[in-house]
């Protein structure tokens, strides 16, 4: 699960997947701006067939947080 999320993130940010870890913070790599953050969540919703509620987004800080949220929605 988290590997797939890391792949999505690294692809959208156009950075090596090795640069993204579960501890990486949203917005930490310079490439991870708000525009690409929206693209990342759109892609995650598509690939995992989940709907992420707006109220959950404000509690996410790291890649692990994103994985935990997606896991809880599956």
């Amino acid at each position: 699960m988290i590997d797939k999320i890391i792949t999505i993130i690294s692809k959208i940010l156009n950075v090596p997947s090795a640069d993204i870890t579960p501890e990486t913070e949203i917005g930490e790599p310079a490439e991870w701006d708000s525009m690409r953050n929206v693209m990342i969540f759109d892609e995650i919703e598509k690939q995992f067939s989940v709907k992420i509620d707006q109220s959950s987004l404000v509690d996410l800080e790291t890649v692990q947080d994103i994985a935990d949220l997606v896991n809880s929605l599956k």
Partner: protein, 482 residues
Amino acid sequence: MTSLKSIEQKILDFSIDTPLKTAVICGKNRINYKTLWSSILSAKLSLENQGFKFGDRIIIAANKQAEFLYAYFGAHLGGMTTVPVDSQTSADRLKYIIETVDAKAVIGFNEDFGVKKIDFASFETVENSECQCSLPVMDSVADIMFTTGTTNIPKAVPLTFENEAAAARNINAFIKNNSDDIELLALPVSHSFGLGRIRCCLSIGATIILTGNFANIKKIFRTFDEEKVTGFSLVPASWRYLKKMSGSKIADYVKQLKYIEMGSAFFAEEEKKELAQLLPETRICMHYGLTEASRSAFMEFHEYKDFLSSVGKASPFTEIAVFDENGCKLDFYQDGEICVKGEHVTSGYINFPNEQTHFGEFFRTGDWGHLSENGCLYLTGRKNDIINVGGEKVSPVEVETEINKIDGVSESACIGVEDPNGLLGQVVKAFVVKEDSSDVTFDEIRLQIADNLEQYKIPAQWEWATEIPKTQNGKIQRHLLK
């Protein structure tokens, strides 16, 4: 002779008057005014020790880190001109900038560009206790900023220490922020908006928090809580993103937020009303401006509630007039070119005929509009076709040039269209004519142009066309494309 003090002089004054007051917060690093000044002196000495002198032009990677500030202000103290550039800018653009300004060095970039390369870390160890320094000469050039021109050639805008000190004075006078304020900056500092926020805060002895961007909403609101943030700056795209990701959470800070500065792109009347309702006690100040003339007009959403379709009135110490194409001043309600006069306005571009940039003492913005009798300025259009992607300005010609290089492409035209996601204001749409025998695809074009263009410049929408509409002189008629 101006009575204005440079931003550097102000920082020196605060390092003496309020030495222990926090000037900058950057991650876990809290820098007070005394340390800030000392680090600026070290950077200045380090640059001088490396042989740089008055008038040398130095490019700096404009990262939101303390070392950027030391290098930026340190170079100024040494009489050098800085050229702040986005650290993610393309190599081609950077090479162009280096050549245009005849840069002597680049600070904070890894690549080799044939000029001296300096690491930010090299400033740390320089002893400065014996340093004697003179403060900047107000009419010398502090910064050269690059803007997106109507062609694919970026224009170089020189700004003097006087221009920048005047801009900070004008902006602070309108926003009414003071030394007690703690401001969060999540905008890029390679543009005049973000960099200007730093100058505004440090010139009044306030505290500024440098943070990456708005992507991490949890971190933004946590910083609001932990640091008791009283002000921040936004482009419309950042507000739409905040709203999408956090709904009306901003209203939780109704008592805490004293001011917001907004700017850089169109913000609809309804959106202004919505934000004003969420924050009824906050001064939400939106500017109309450009790199060449800083914030030339301002409005505050509550004060201007009956004039929200305007861009406000001339900023403090600023004069705005509307001229026709012959340089004659127009009357109220007559549309013409918006022109600006004030100490904050550039004298003209580098390597560009200045008779085209001014009508007398007024700088020509290239924007179209009119003034009403009460002084409100209304924008009715732009003379050029610049596309505004979430506050980032994109020249259609630059994107078209890259698309046209691709094998199989005959010609192309780019326009700005409304972002269907409602976030960025505009996105780039490309119309492409391919050669008869070609089977090139949009994916192939997208992939190839990505090497030479920043991400936000890559078209989000694509359409095949059989021809590109042009005038008799061969100029693309972008207004005919949708």
